[in-house]
Symmetry: C2
Subunit: 156 residues, 2 copies
């Protein structure tokens, strides 16, 4: 299985880029993984809703390339780290070749995205910046693989 | 009200230090705030349980200085960002002069700490490194103040 973390808009924060990269390298020991950035719309004279809709169309087109798609969304299901590792194991058992975990833009997902992809995971009831969510998610993915492999990183 | 974020053990991760500092500076516009580090035990020949107990004693002593203490703990109450801003407002309304939000060490809190302080907040059902939790929490505090002041940072 190859895992893609699909994000809307690149980050300029070097701290985040370095930290995310650190976890990506660690996860690579267990699984093929990549971070894929869909450029966000830079247009200034459009409303957030219009922006979300245009970005949603591009995203939808892109997500057609994947066997399975999961949205990271505040209203999704919350898992503990151990439950999330089970979730991941089940997806691997099904035999998906490609799976995308999608992190929306600053204003979340368009309604088209929600109606096409029903599986949603929430990292927290709290709202975090969509850029920070990237770091949180790669940390959880790494943690999940260490749990599945009985390695000492995780202690809850 | 002065907010103290009381942490067990210092972090060497420069990126975390910088990011946390960025939010602390922003929060300072709204409220007195400080990060206070209780050194962790470096002893190598003791079990995690003994380490937790010794650190718990030091922490308990230190926390006597505060009017109100909240533990950040996986088994605590989960709030949305907006609910957390209400929570914070209520604590300010009560008129506490000092409030401590406490982030445990790598192995969590000792039973003594749990029995002394009953108010627990959970940032996520997932487990994150106690060092990353510091960044998540200052981001939420900053977000809470922007919500309370109707400023444009937050959109959920």
């Amino acid at each position: 299985m190859k895992i893609s973390i699909v994000c809307l808009g690149k980050t300029d924060n070097l701290f985040l880029i370095n930290e995310i990269d650190k976890y990506i390298k660690r996860i690579n020991k267990y699984c093929k993984i990549g971070v894929e950035i869909i450029p966000d719309i830079k247009e200034k004279n459009i409303s957030f809703d219009v922006q979300k809709k245009i970005e949603g169309k591009k995203l939808l087109e892109y997500l057609k390339n994947f066997n399975y798609v999961v949205l990271l969304d505040e209203n999704g299901t919350e898992y503990s780290s151990s439950e999330f590792s089970d979730y991941l194991q089940k997806k691997m058992n099904i035999g998906y070749k490609t799976i995308a975990f999608v992190i929306g833009g600053a204003y979340g997902f368009s309604s088209e995205i929600y109606s096409n992809f029903l599986d949603k995971i929430s990292i927290s009831k709290m709202t975090f910046s969509h850029q920070l969510i990237r770091l949180l998610f790669v940390e959880q993915l790494y943690r999940a693989f260490t749990i599945l492999n009985n390695e000492p990183y995780h202690h809850s």
